[in-house]
């Protein structure tokens, strides 16, 4: 039942993303708070609801963003997939796993956005996108993941108490 915190938490994350995070720019890129939040959540050991959280994030973002829904679904679920794989393999170094997921996830998400938007007819220069959007976003996402990871670890301890898990 405590998993229902996904709705207010991700709702707040999307609102913050739209109103504040998107204003804090580095060149033309900015951090992706829902992506970092989902990555941190999926990397927690006890969490078994990462996919549900991904779906909730897609629902909220679908209302606000004009990004095609397939990009969001494939992008966020791809990030969750990578996180779940790494969580099993790099569990002894959680922050390293977090950085790896955010790094790979951001690249994957931006590449997917680039390809699908190009396919839909939007004209992009790959150099501009890579240098002015993706790399700055990557850096900001990595920085954002430092405070988000411990926060989501605390949330996971609250959602999955030790007694209940045992």
């Amino acid at each position: 039942m405590r998993n229902l915190i996904a709705f207010p938490l991700l709702g707040l994350a999307v609102i913050l993303q739209s109103s504040i995070v998107s204003q804090v720019r580095l060149l033309n890129g900015y951090a992706d708070l829902p992506l970092v939040l989902l990555a941190a959540w999926a990397l927690q050991e006890r969490v078994d609801s990462a996919w549900h959280w991904g779906a909730v994030a897609c629902i909220f973002l679908g209302f606000i963003s004009n990004l095609p829904l397939p990009v969001m679904i494939l992008g966020y679920f791809g990030v969750l997939f990578v996180a779940r794989i790494l969580q099993r393999r790099v569990w002894q170094a959680p922050l390293l796993a977090m950085f790896s997921v955010v790094f790979l996830g951001t690249l994957f998400f931006h590449l997917l956005s680039f390809i699908i938007l190009r396919f839909l007819g939007t004209i992009f220069s790959f150099g501009d996108v890579a240098g002015l959007v993706t790399l700055p976003s990557l850096l900001l996402n990595m920085l954002l993941s430092i405070p988000i990871y411990p926060f989501m670890r605390d949330v996971s301890h609250w959602v999955y108490p030790v007694e209940e898990f045992a």
């Binding site: 609102i15 998107s22 890129g29 004009n66 938007l117 007819g121 002015l132 976003s137």
Partner: protein, 280 residues
Amino acid sequence: MNSRSLQTTIIFLVVGGILVLAFSGVLGSASRGFTATLINIQTWIAGRFAGFQDFVTAPRDIVTLRQRNAELEAQVSQLQAQLIELQQRVNETEILAALVDFSRSNPESTYKAASVIGRDPSPFLHYIIINRGSNDDIRRGMPVVTNQGLVGRIDAVIADAARVQLVTDPASSVNVYLQNTDTSAVLYGSVTGDISLDLISQNVTVEAGDLILTSGLGGGYPADLIIGQVVTVRALEFELFQQATVQPAVDFSRLEIVLVITNFRPVDIAPLEPATTPIP
């Protein structure tokens, strides 16, 4: 009267008599030395007492001062918060006054003011979200402006909010004309937020500073809305058209309040466009 009380009485009378003589000035220099000594002693005692009094009462004063200081600091914080709020209101009022001036100078259109409450979460797209929706008669395709010029157009609407595609969006294209040369062109956005002109005829001379306005062609935007000025021109002989970079009139990074032109209905000219396959 016994001898003891008589002795006491005599001593008192002698001392009293000396004092009377001393205060009446009969004793002269001896009297002055005596009174000076008394005054010095009293001064010393008074000084020590004052120091002791300060020592005793000082802690109470510090507590009072600290309380007063805390009250004043709280008051300063409150006043600073009020100052910030008032500055925000002044800024908002200035923006609204400029927008009112703009709407008065363009009476042919009807406007609805809206606040910008968010931006698209994706850095690939340039959209803003405003706090007016279908409940306020906002419809898809309506142009959005500020007193400085064209901002974009409504892309999607829900009950109490709408999403606006900015002219800087990479998927945006606007038919424009250059006022000085009276020639038409197309304005494109980009992922970096820069806007540029394309499809400018090679037969015209475009110069930096030329004003760019919407042409109204295509029915997507009303005519004569200011967009910006030409900054640089790229004209190559082997290309069909000239291109130019544009300095937008609107500062898209500081959009706070915008106006939606509510009496403009975009025209869908898709059915009139030539078919790709010939009709038999």
